[in-house]
Symmetry: C2
Subunit: 143 residues, 2 copies
């Protein structure tokens, strides 16, 4: 077989998974009870207050069904608060709780550092090219 190492898509898969495991491990090691995905969802919510779950899903690059479940867990962890939106009873109003804000703030530095470590030895230009290529792949595979 073509060596897997040479096939872009396996490397892509491996890269994101390696980074994910690394980040999650750092979070755990530092005693933070939150997953990378949960962090992302709160972050998006903080920057887009009042957003619907559909937009939240889109902005966080997540599936709809996943967002529903991630939010469930976040509410259970007391990082989010939800109540029915009286103006559109199909949706909920999601709010980041003080606990939620606190953990995001505490985690922020670690997140930046994880990214930095992961990007060691990679130039700005290289990162830009990476983004360009990734965007092409995304476009090619979308309906």
């Amino acid at each position: 077989m073509e060596r897997l190492e040479t096939i872009n898509f396996y490397l892509l898969d491996k890269a994101i998974r390696t980074y994910r495991v690394y980040s999650q491990k750092k979070l755990r090691e530092n005693g933070f009870k939150i997953t990378v995905d949960q962090w992302l969802v709160i972050k998006v919510l903080m920057e887009n207050p009042g957003i619907s779950q559909l937009s939240l899903a889109e902005k966080a690059f997540k599936d709809n069904a996943s967002i529903t479940r991630i939010i469930e867990l976040l509410v259970k962890s007391k990082y989010l608060d939800r109540k029915v939106n009286p103006k559109d009873r199909r949706t909920s109003i999601l709010k980041v709780t003080p606990d939620g804000e606190e953990i995001i703030n505490k985690v922020q530095g670690l997140v930046l550092q994880n990214r930095k470590v992961a990007q060691t030895g990679i130039t700005i230009e290289e990162l830009e090219n990476l983004n360009i290529t990734l965007k092409k792949i995304i476009k090619n595979c979308q309906p």
Copy 2:
């Protein structure tokens, strides 16, 4: 927040997920009852007969526990056959069944075409650079 679009790791995540969904959809549309991951595991097994599950996991960029479960499903689907290895009773001897070989052969063209579609408009040089960058990320995040 830094716009997510500009953050490499979300694009990375999104790219591999978009490609995965695309590939899986094509498999489904063509009536193949197999997942991308299952395909990969069989493929690796065909090219490395007699391999242990640990090496299989490594070569397929999969987690150990995941391999156990993927193999379970493949045996259930009659694409793999397993029996205890008498020389080392901790391990099993895994064999691709005729059904397994058949589906791999039938799927091969589609897989190549999926990759081709996903790489449309991306130069060889770009792909090479992508690989180089991804390998750096992997190295940076490994222990």
